[in-house]
Amino acid sequence: MLNWLLGLWGGGVIGSVLYPVVRYLAPPDVAEATTLSVSAGNAQALLPNTGRVVPFGSRPAIVLRTSSGELRAFSATCTHLDCTVQYRSDLQRIWCACHNGQYDLNGRNVAGPPPRPLDPYDVNVSNGEIVITRRS
């Protein structure tokens, strides 16, 4: 009787060890960490002279297509006081609404208070999706 109980509880203990291990071994839905590279949406949907802000890990990123069709991507955190920048198609520049800071299409700070350029990211298109990757 005692042995039976011992087997029961012992089985329970072993089960409570094996269950997490088995769950752990099955790969999660998102196979890899999304902190080096993220998808930034459909490539076709990003028209020339437009930009969009997308999440990249825990910070925002901006991906834009120039009038000549080229894709560019940068960190979207303004180097002045950390506001999120946006694309201005009328100025054809990246603009920060907080204090009128402006960056050109290479991310360089060209007007207003920002002291440094925006960090650039690599952009590729894979299966119609824009993929932006941090440069290490």
Binding site: V13, V17, P20, V21, R23, Y24, L25, A26, P28, V30, E32, A33, T35, L36, S136
Partner: protein, 361 residues
């Protein structure tokens, strides 16, 4: 009845029957100090937990400076029960070091190092050093601020040694400074080199323990009128084994509770160019040495203070290793060993306490 053919099949090929017979006859001394026998087994159990959780972590961890922190973040946030595996690995490391020290000190105070167990003692001391090395190499792997700077400070200490110091530092760091190369190198030590050496030594240590049986402390032997056979003992199977199982399961429960109630932090990703954060400390088991280095004067008799401290600690370690050969056999000599061991233990505790209380809040 189908089980019998399997058993006889096995017995024809493996010494199953011999092993079981030996275990049936094996007896473990039972006296007022025999509770300390369990610490060896607990240390072994925790080593097993480390190998198991370490192997699981290896499935998702990436040992490169650009990916290490993110892979640990991935394990802890995205992998089912990843948080549990990681926290158990970190807590079990701490418990294993504590258990290894408890095992060493109990063996010292019970004089189990004496003839014919000298090799057991020495392999054990080397295993303790390996355990500390495991802790040191593993600490860097999450690649966060604290571990980066703790590794830099820790490896700097080797530089105090003349002639070989810089060579040792470069060997440990894979370069002149702590970098991605250090991460890869320490990772190699942590998952391949140290485990192979440790496994071989554990094998030797266990074989020797099996060969010589459990040592009986001299005072117990004297009370049994010098006759080892007169000491009370219990059968290994099932008495001691069940008690061992009890201890191991209790430790498992403690591990699970600690890992759930106090999960290990991620910290912030290491930035080699940022200034060192305030209050950099190594793990608790190195704190006493860290504190000694803080208190030693800059120059002792014209020699670099840190160097003197390192040499002193090294001498202590060498003394510990060679204990069976320097300790005497008389009752008085053994008392000296007990006092020396007590002094070392108290010293380490006091230094650790000082380090903890002087820490930047």
């Amino acid at each position: 009845m189908t089980r019998m053919p399997l058993r006889s099949w096995l017995e024809e090929r493996l010494p199953v029957a011999d092993v079981i017979a030996t275990l049936r006859h094996k007896r473990v001394p039972h006296h007022r100090y025999s509770a300390w026998y369990y610490f060896g087994g607990v240390t072994l159990f925790l080593f097993g937990v480390q190998v198991g959780t370490g192997a699981l972590l290896l499935l998702y961890y990436r040992p490169a400076a650009t990916e290490a922190y993110e892979s640990v973040q991935f394990i802890v946030t995205r992998v089912p029960f990843g948080w549990l595996v990681r926290s158990i690995h970190a807590w079990s490391a701490n418990l294993m070091v504590a258990s290894a020290f408890a095992h060493l000190f109990s063996v010292l105070f019970l004089h189990a190092y004496r003839r014919p167990r000298e090799l057991t003692w020495m392999s054990g001391v080397v295993l303790l050093f390996l355990t500390l090395a495991f802790g040191f190499t593993g600490y860097l792997l999450p690649w966060n601020d604290v571990s980066f700077f703790a590794t830099r400070v820790g490896t700097d200490i080797a530089a105090t040694l003349p002639l070989i110091g810089n060579g040792i530092v470069r060997f440990l760091r894979g370069g002149n400074d702590v970098s991605g190369a250090t991460l890869t190198r320490l990772f190699g030590f942590h998952v391949a080199i140290l485990p192979s050496i440790a496994t071989a030594l554990v094998g030797l240590h266990l074989f020797l323990v099996q060969r010589h049986g459990m040592s009986v402390p001299p005072s117990v032997e004297r009370r049994a009128a010098g006759d080892p056979a007169a000491v009370r003992s219990m059968p290994f199977l099932p008495h001691f084994l069940l008690r061992d199982l009890f201890a191991w399961t209790a430790v498992l429960a403690v591990l699970a509770a600690l890992s759930t109630a106090y999960p290990t932090e991620l910290g912030t990703k290491a930035d080699p160019f940022a200034p060192a954060p305030a209050g950099i400390r190594p793990e608790w088991y190195f704190l006493w040495a860290f504190e000694v280095l803080k208190h030693v004067p800059a120059s002792v008799g014209g020699v670099n203070g840190e160097f003197v401290a390192v040499v002193a600690i090294g001498a202590g370690a060498a003394g510990a290793l060679m204990l069976p050969f320097v300790a005497g056999h008389t009752v008085r000599a053994r008392r000296v060993v007990v006092w020396a061991g007590l002094a070392a233990l108290v010293f380490m505790c006091v230094m650790t306490g000082l380090a903890l209380t002087s820490a930047v809040p």
